[in-house]
Subunit: 444 residues, 2 copies
C-alpha cells in the first residue's frame, strides 16, 4: 500500500457525511464511560463477546432483503460475496447464539460495546457510524431476568454519573392482549409503529392514523386512552391495574409486571421507573416488557437506552427456542446529551497528572528517571519531548489540562531533587525529593 | 429492518472467510489486554483518539489507487461515493493530523486500539479483520521521542505479562546512507522489500534477488554482509559502529542511535534490544529507526509489534511537516501466539467470582439483596436466573469457571445468613453472615 500513500498533490483531509473523528477531548470521556460500563456489567457476571463488523447480507437482513434497504451499507466483496456492515448488535448476536449454542452455558449473559452503521440522514446526536452498548440475558423467560436487566440499566446510569433519568416501562404482551380484546390484533405492527411516533408527531396525528388503520375512530380513541396517562403521578401499580382491566383482565403479563415491580421495590430503585403505556418500541420482535430511558433535563432528546424482551429472536437461524431480554445504551446520543447539559462527565480531558518540562535536553535521562518512578505509583506522567521555550511548554500543559509541572535545574539534578509547580494555584515547591513530591501529589 | 429478520426458512448462521467471532473465553483476555494497554499508554501521557471505520477511498489510497488494490474492502455507498474500510490505523491518523492540526497541541502523543480490514488470504494468526494497538508521538524528531516509544513498547509487554521477547532495532537512514555509499540508493524501495523477506525466503534467494536488482553480485554480497550479524552476541554498540563504517562513517544517524541506547541503559532495559540490520520494514514511509518484536519461544511466529520513525507521513494531506515515530502491536497475532504457548494470560476466563444458586425462586429478592451487597465490595456476582436442578447449576458454574457458590435455605434467609461453597476445594461454610462470607472471599 505504501506507494499509494505517496503524495502527487495534496488530498483534502475530510471524513464522510455522518461520520466523525473523536479528538481526545471527546474520546477520553467516551472511553471512561465505556470502561465504567464494562466493569459494571462484569460485576453482574455478564461476559463480553465480539462479532465481525462485516457479515453476509443474507445473515443480517434475511433472504432477499439486501437489494432494497437503503439504510444499510452493503456491497459485493472481492470474492463476489454479498456483504454488509452490521446495523445493530442484536441481529449478529442472534446469529452468534444460533452458531455457538453448543459452546455456551445457558442462561448466558453477554455485553457488547461497539460501532454499528446506518445510512440514515444525520441529525443532532444521530450519526451514520455510532456506538451501541448492548447487554442481554438469553435462555430464560421470567420476571427475575427482566428485573436484572432493569436493575443493571439503573445502576449503569449511576455508575456513569448521571443522576436525573427515568425509565419508561410498558409491556408488549399486555398491549397485544388489549388489541386482541379490541379485535384489531392483526393490525398490531402498524398500530405499534404509529403509537411509537407519539412523541414525534403528536396525539392528534396519531389519532387520525389509528382511525385509518382500525377503520374506526372509536377504536382509535380506545387505543389512545390505553396509551395515555391522565394523571402523571399515577403509581406504577395503579397504571398496571387499569391497563390490565382494559386488556380484558389479562393475568399472565399483569402478574409478571407485579413481580418485577416487587423486585424493583426490594432493591430500593422503584422511583426511577414509571409505567408508560405509550412506549411500544417500533421493532416487532419484542414480546414482553419494553422500555425507553429519558434524561429529566432533556425530555425531548429521545431515548438514550432502550430494549425489551424478545422470545424468538434467533429463530431466523435455529429451530431452538432462545428467549431473551436486553437493552442498549446509545452512547453517541448520550454523549451529545451530556455535552448539551455541559455535564462534568464530558469535561475531564486531562492527558496527564504531571508534565515534566524540558529546560535542558541533556537532562532527559534524569527526566525519564523521575517519570518512571512517578508512574510506578499510578500517576500519569508526560515528559515534554520538544526543545521549546518554557512559555510554549506551559501553554502546552494548559492545553492538555495538566495540573502539575516538574522542572529540574542542573543543581537539583545533582542532588536528585526537583521543583514541583501547581499550574492552577501557581504554588511552587522547590528542591523536593521524590518522596516529598509524592506526598504533595497524593494529597491532591 | 424488523420485517426482514422474520424467518421464512432457516438461514445458516456463519461468518465470512477470514472473519471470526470472539467467544467469552477469548474476548475476556483480549479485553483484559486492551484495558491494561490503555491504562499503561495513559500513564505515559498518551491520549486516545477515534476515527471512522469507513473513509473516502481516495483519502486512504491516494488519487487513483482505489480500482487496483485487491487487499482493500472498497465499494460505492448509496450516495455514489467511493469508500473503503481502513486497512491500518496509520493512514487515517495522518489524515486526522492534517485535518485537526490547529486543534492539537504538539508534541502530540496518541494511541488508537481498533479493528482494521484487509482482504489477504487468511493463515495462522492472520485474519481479514484484526485489531491493531497503535501508539505514536508526532511533532518532534529526536532521540528522546524514539526512546520513549521503545521504552513504552518494552513496558507494554511486561504489563501484558509477557516475559520473553526481544526488540530487533535497525535504522533506515543508516541503511540508506549505506546504499548511497554503494551507489544503489535509487533502488532502495526494491532492496528494502527484498531484505524484508529474509526470514521468509532465506538468505540465498535474497542474494539472488539483490544481485538482479543491483545488477551486481558483488553489491548483493555487500548488502548481505551489511544485514548479517556473524556473531549473534555482538553488542548493540559494536554492531552500530560496524554498520556506521560500512555506511561511510555516517554521523547523524549513528549519533542518534548511540543516544537512544544511552537512554535504554539509563532505564535499565537495554537487554531487551538488539541491533539487527536485517530489519528494514517493507513500508517506504520510514525514515529513521525501525523495529520488530519477536517472542523468544516462538521465533518463527513473525513480529508482534513493529514500527519506526516516519518524517513526512501526513504530506499526502498537508504541506506542514509533521515528523513522527510510532509502533503497533498486532493484537490478534499476539493472542494466537499466547494461545500456542498455552500462556495463563489467555486462560483467565471466569465470568464471575461468586454464583448465587437458585434453590427456590421465591427467594430471588433475597438472592438479589446478597448480590448487591457483595458487588459493592468489588466482587463480580452472578445470580443463577433459571429454574433448574442444582446439578445443572453446578455444571453451569463450572463452565463459567466460577470459584464460589452461595446457597440459602429458607431458614438461613430468615436469619439473613447463607452457605458459601468453594467449588474448587469443595469446602463448605454454612450459615454465614455477609461479613463472615466477605472475610473468607477476600482472603482468597
Amino acid at each position: 500500500m505504501s506507494d499509494k500513500t505517496k503524495a502527487r498533490s495534496i488530498i483534502e483531509p475530510r471524513v464522510l457525511k455522518g461520520f466523525r473523528d473523536f479528538l481526545p477531548a471527546m474520546e477520553i470521556p467516551k472511553k471512561a464511560i465505556i470502561s465504567k460500563l464494562e466493569t459494571h456489567f462484569s460485576s453482574y457476571g455478564f461476559v463480553p463477546i465480539d462479532t465481525p463488523v462485516l457479515e453476509y447480507t443474507e445473515v443480517l437482513l434475511g433472504k432477499g432483503g439486501g437489494e432494497t434497504d437503503k439504510q444499510i451499507f452493503h456491497f459485493k466483496d472481492n470474492g463476489e460475496r454479498e456483504v454488509a456492515l452490521r446495523f445493530d448488535l442484536t441481529v449478529p448476536f442472534a446469529r452468534f447464539l444460533a452458531q455457538h449454542q453448543s459452546e455456551l452455558a445457558l442462561p448466558f449473559k453477554r455485553f457488547h460495546i461497539d460501532k454499528v452503521w446506518r445510512g440514515e440522514n444525520p441529525q443532532k446526536g444521530r450519526f451514520r457510524e455510532f456506538t451501541q452498548c448492548d447487554f442481554d440475558i438469553v435462555g430464560v423467560d421470567n420476571a427475575e431476568a427482566d428485573f436484572e436487566i432493569l436493575s443493571m440499566m439503573n445502576s449503569s446510569f449511576s455508575v456513569i454519573g448521571i443522576e436525573d433519568y427515568q425509565f419508561c416501562i410498558a409491556h408488549r404482551g399486555l398491549f397485544n392482549a388489549f388489541l386482541s380484546h379490541l379485535g384489531v390484533l392483526d393490525k398490531s405492527t402498524e398500530i405499534l409503529r404509529t403509537v411509537d411516533k407519539l412523541r414525534k408527531i403528536g396525539k392528534q396525528e396519531v389519532a387520525s392514523q389509528l382511525a385509518e388503520i382500525t377503520t374506526s375512530s372509536e377504536k382509535a380513541e380506545q387505543i389512545l386512552s390505553y396509551i395515555h396517562k391522565e394523571d402523571e403521578n399515577e403509581s406504577f401499580l395503579t397504571t398496571l391495574n387499569r391497563l390490565s382491566v382494559l386488556a380484558g383482565n389479562e393475568e399472565v403479563h399483569t402478574k409478571r409486571m407485579q413481580t418485577i415491580y416487587y423486585y424493583l421495590k426490594n432493591a430500593g430503585i422503584e422511583s426511577h421507573f414509571v409505567f408508560d403505556p405509550s412506549i411500544t418500541r417500533g421493532l416487532d420482535y419484542y414480546t414482553g416488557i419494553v422500555y425507553e430511558t429519558f434524561l429529566t433535563d432533556l425530555p425531548n432528546f429521545g431515548s438514550v437506552c432502550s430494549g425489551g424482551r424478545y422470545n424468538d429472536l434467533a429463530s431466523l437461524y435455529t429451530k431452538e427456542n432462545l428467549p431473551g431480554v436486553g437493552s442498549s445504551i446509545g452512547l453517541d446520543r448520550l454523549l451529545a446529551a451530556l455535552e448539551e447539559l455541559k455535564s462534568p462527565i464530558v469535561a475531564s480531558t486531562s492527558s496527564a497528572d504531571v508534565a515534566i518540562l524540558n529546560t535542558d535536553m541533556t537532562s532527559f535521562a534524569y527526566y525519564d528517571t523521575i517519570a518512571r518512578a512517578l508512574r510506578k505509583t499510578g500517576l500519569r506522567v508526560c515528559v515534554y519531548l520538544a526543545d521549546k521555550k518554557l512559555a510554549a511548554q506551559y501553554k502546552w500543559a494548559e492545553n492538555n489540562a495538566i495540573t502539575y509541572a516538574i522542572l529540574a535545574s542542573k543543581e537539583e539534578e545533582e542532588e536528585n531533587r526537583f521543583t514541583l509547580k501547581n499550574l492552577g494555584s501557581r504554588e511552587n515547591y522547590p528542591s523536593l525529593t521524590l518522596e516529598e513530591a509524592l506526598s504533595i501529589l497524593q494529597r491532591n
